[in-house]
Point group: C2
Chain length 247, copies 2
DNA sequence: CGTTGGGTTGATCGACCTCAATAAAAGTGG
DNA sequence: CCACTTTTATTGAGGTCGATCAACCCAACG
């Protein structure tokens, strides 16, 4: 009877990690801001059994809009775009998932969005059914899940504020400021902002044209607020960016 | 087994109702498709004790951005705008709450948004703390709460898709189609779409100018897709609206 | 009546979309 | 390692949509 729903990019660290050096959920505990940290070892062991490590090459599909929602993903490395394809061929990206983010929890039995890897990506994959079953018996986990959903709602509403901007320059600046904050949570870095997604992805995220993204990034570079580097930007004047991003 | 009526509030209906004729949560049960219907009488009684009926006149404040988040509201009648005020004096409306909608779920210790009544509004008010305490003991309620939050998230993500539209006409049409669906859940009505909010509210919701809202509504009326009536519109050509609203 | 607030409509101007050309990167095959 | 293609990014020019400013209409209300 448990029902989950799509949770887009979640900034609550990885539930579970199966990378080359560590195995199982326990080693991942320290990476968690609020999730694994709140689980005891029994619960972690349970997660361990439910999860399976998977990896995707660039542009490979995690799940597709409309298909049965079979799995829940917790991104451990890489980056993912989550989007809806529209009948006019347009694409609205609703979020980018970074390491630690949760994807594919679906309340309905079919996905409302598609998701595919931007760069090479690894994730912990859970059967949605068994994940759901666990929620029936582990109130702890359900409570955390609800917290994450609430947090996700906050992110979505923040994005609405960004998209309400009348100026494209404001949108770009707000995008950079927001992404910088997220990378900062993950890596501690505040100057270099990786941009694994291409200009078209950013455009479809912000609801502007590709050329507008390019032009405004160039413009920010021209006024020395940022420097454009391969696969990202470096922040020179964060105050300028923040004043543009009307928060 | 509670009888479900499809023409009744699908938007999770009111958790609790304290209107002039009925008191307590139990009478409200029939109005709920999935919320109160899933609670037993003990649980309903508990809700009863926690909740308090409140009412607001037009443009009165339910809560203000930045203040401590003390309460959770379940709207029982009327309509509410939820918005963020920005440092440049602009206002981004992130949603309109209608009967059955929950407010205050996405917030942590302080409100991320302001909310005020558009029309005369009644609501059930819960202390956030006691509501939270109840969740610790009532898995049922927690699950329902999670579902409601998920529903909010759905609305927010749909709104992102709308705001990604490049054309203002598409935004207006998508707004009407979405609002029509919500009113349909509440009242069963599909032709008359009440618009309790004024043009400025719609403008700040969609991220366009007031005049643009007015012009495009007039345009839709001119092509006989809608008729503009006091406090709303009547739909003449839903197919036209839906084809504009790239879903 | 005058006033006020909300709504509509008109005119102007600038921002951004579109189309197009170029440049730079990243693959591909010899 | 170097031509070659393919993809992605940047830059330019022109046209259009929508923001802005302004006037006007209308209903509510004292």
């Amino acid at each position: 009877m448990a029902q989950l729903r799509i949770i887009e990019p979640l900034t609550l660290a990885a539930l579970c990690s199966h990378d080359a050096t560590v195995h199982g959920c326990a080693p991942c505990r320290h990476r968690s801001l609020s999730l694994c940290a709140a689980l005891d070892s029994d619960e972690l062991g349970m997660l361990d059994e439910l999860s399976k490590s998977v990896s995707f090459g660039a542009s490979e599909t995690l799940f597709r809009q409309g298909e049965d929602a079979e799995f829940v993903f917790n991104i451990t490395s890489g980056s993912v775009r989550v989007y809806r394809s529209l009948h006019d061929g347009q694409r609205q990206i609703v979020g980018f998932a970074l390491p630690g983010d949760f994807l594919g929890l679906s309340m309905s039995d079919h996905n409302a969005f598609s998701a595919d890897a931007i760069t090479s990506t690894t994730a912990c994959k859970f059967s949605r059914q068994s994940f759901s079953d666990m929620l029936d018996h582990e109130q702890h986990v359900l409570r955390l899940l609800h917290k994450m959903t609430s947090h996700e709602l906050n992110l979505a509403q923040d994005q609405m504020v960004i998209m309400g901007c009348h100026s494209a320059l404001q949108k770009i600046a707000a995008f950079l400021v927001g992404l910088r904050a997220r990378w900062n949570m993950i890596s501690g870095e505040t100057v270099h902002i990786p941009l694994p997604m291409n200009r078209g992805d950013i455009a479809d995220f912000l609801g502007v044209a590709i050329e507008t993204v390019s032009r405004n990034l160039s413009s920010l570079a021209r006024e020395k607020a940022i420097v454009i580097v391969p696969d990202g930007v470096r922040v020179l004047n964060i105050r300028r960016l923040e004043s543009l991003a009307r928060r």
